[in-house]
């Protein structure tokens, strides 16, 4: 057996040019999947072949809300639920920017739910990454809009009685042009989805199912992060093009993943530019 290969401090991780290394280590707990989503995103930024100076990343509040602070792009950590609204301002005022919203399920789908559906309806050209860990983790494990029925959370001590949102279905029916879902385990496919979505014109939504080892799995006695990953390994199924209606996630039930929607619709900025041109012709 060979000795442990350790590396000297000056050795550089290949992702370091897109990360703010002065802030690493990040705040996420051991066994959390948000870091994996960031890794996949960082890998995708390099693969997507885009000018990194022209990419802005916006986050809301929560565990995933901290992502903006770790990615070396023009990055904005805004208020709870309003990341999409803030990003809309950036995209509309500066159409040559590529805008990414990276936030959690509570932030994007509960308090920011209205902005989510309206951005999809307008088809604002941005990538929305929704890291779904089924719970409000930053505040200590309250019920989220994605918490499966009967799962426990601190504010539903007798089991969740609210049916959860099916995020791909919500995005699809609101008009998103690209909708995909992967778990944190399926990191290569996730990276490919990010690359596709970054190069897609219109609102793309990528849902990342991520283990929350500290709250969701602890309150529901599901073991640690690794146990959650094993669960994803055994209980997830890839079905590209599946009707988004069928993508509900039950408590410890099968997770259907894949790329569900990939279509073309004119984006908000395109339509706005067309409108401006028409106005000018009419002058």
């Amino acid at each position: 057996m060979e000795a442990v290969k350790t590396t000297a401090a000056h050795e550089i991780h290949p992702m370091e040019n897109v990360l703010r290394m002065d802030r690493i280590p990040h705040i996420w707990c051991p066994g959390c999947g948000i870091g994996i989503a960031v890794t996949a995103f960082a890998a995708a930024l390099e693969k997507a072949n885009i000018d990194l100076n022209k990419v802005a990343i916006v986050s809301g509040i929560g565990c995933t809300g901290r992502v903006a602070g770790y990615v070396k792009l023009d990055s904005f950590h805004t208020t709870h639920g309003r990341a999409i609204a803030f990003a809309t301002g950036i995209k509309v005022a500066s159409p040559d920017m590529k805008v990414v919203v990276f936030s959690g399920d509570g932030d994007l789908i509960a308090i920011g739910g209205n902005h989510f559906i309206h951005a999809a309806r307008r088809n604002i050209d941005m990538l929305v990454v929704c890291v779904n860990n089924f719970i409000y983790a930053m505040t200590g494990g309250q019920v989220a809009p994605t918490t499966p029925l009967a799962a426990y959370a601190t504010t539903c001590p007798f089991g969740c009685v609210e049916p959860p949102f099916n995020i791909p279905y919500l995005a699809d029916s609101s008009g998103a042009v690209y909708v995909a879902r992967w778990t944190a385990l399926h990191v290569r496919r996730l990276t490919n989805s990010f690359v596709e979505a970054l190069n897609k014109k219109g609102l793309s939504v990528v849902e990342v199912i991520s283990p929350c080892a500290q709250y969701y799995s602890r309150i529901n006695r599901l073991g640690d992060g690794l146990d959650m990953m094993r669960f994803y390994h055994d209980n997830s199924e890839i079905r590209h093009g599946e009707d988004t209606k069928n993508l509900d996630i039950g408590f410890q039930q099968k997770i259907i993943m894949g790329k569900f929607v990939d279509r073309e619709r004119p984006s908000y900025t395109d339509r706005y530019q067309d409108w401006l041109k028409q106005r000018k012709v009419g002058m």
Partner: protein
């Protein structure tokens, strides 16, 4: 690599080889890399890092096939792989004559 039957193009393929680099003090010991390494190159070490976690160690470093899965699955940016010179073709030795 073991196959239940020998691939016909075995000789044309080379096994890539990588070198694993572990930034021990960044590790929070989630063990994702250990669990999902396809070649079972990694295992948790007995030692503690600065934060008090057990980082992984490469117990079979020669078997790394440069797949980068540990790098992608690490939530802490604490492990990465660099490509080494590729190994000789899979069937070297046995199919010498065919070359």
């Amino acid at each position: 690599m073991k196959f239940w039957r020998k691939p016909l193009d075995e000789g044309k393929h080379k096994i890539p080889k990588g070198e694993i680099h572990i930034l021990q003090d960044r590790c929070k010991g989630c063990a994702f890399c250990v669990e999902y390494c396809p070649k079972e190159v990694l295992e948790m070490s007995e030692e503690f890092n600065k934060k008090g976690y057990h980082p992984p160690k490469a117990s079979k470093p020669d078997e790394c096939v440069d797949c980068h899965l540990c790098e992608m699955l690490c939530p802490e940016f604490a492990i990465y792989v660099t490509t080494l010179e590729e190994k000789e073709p899979v069937g070297v030795g046995k199919k010498e004559g065919e070359k």
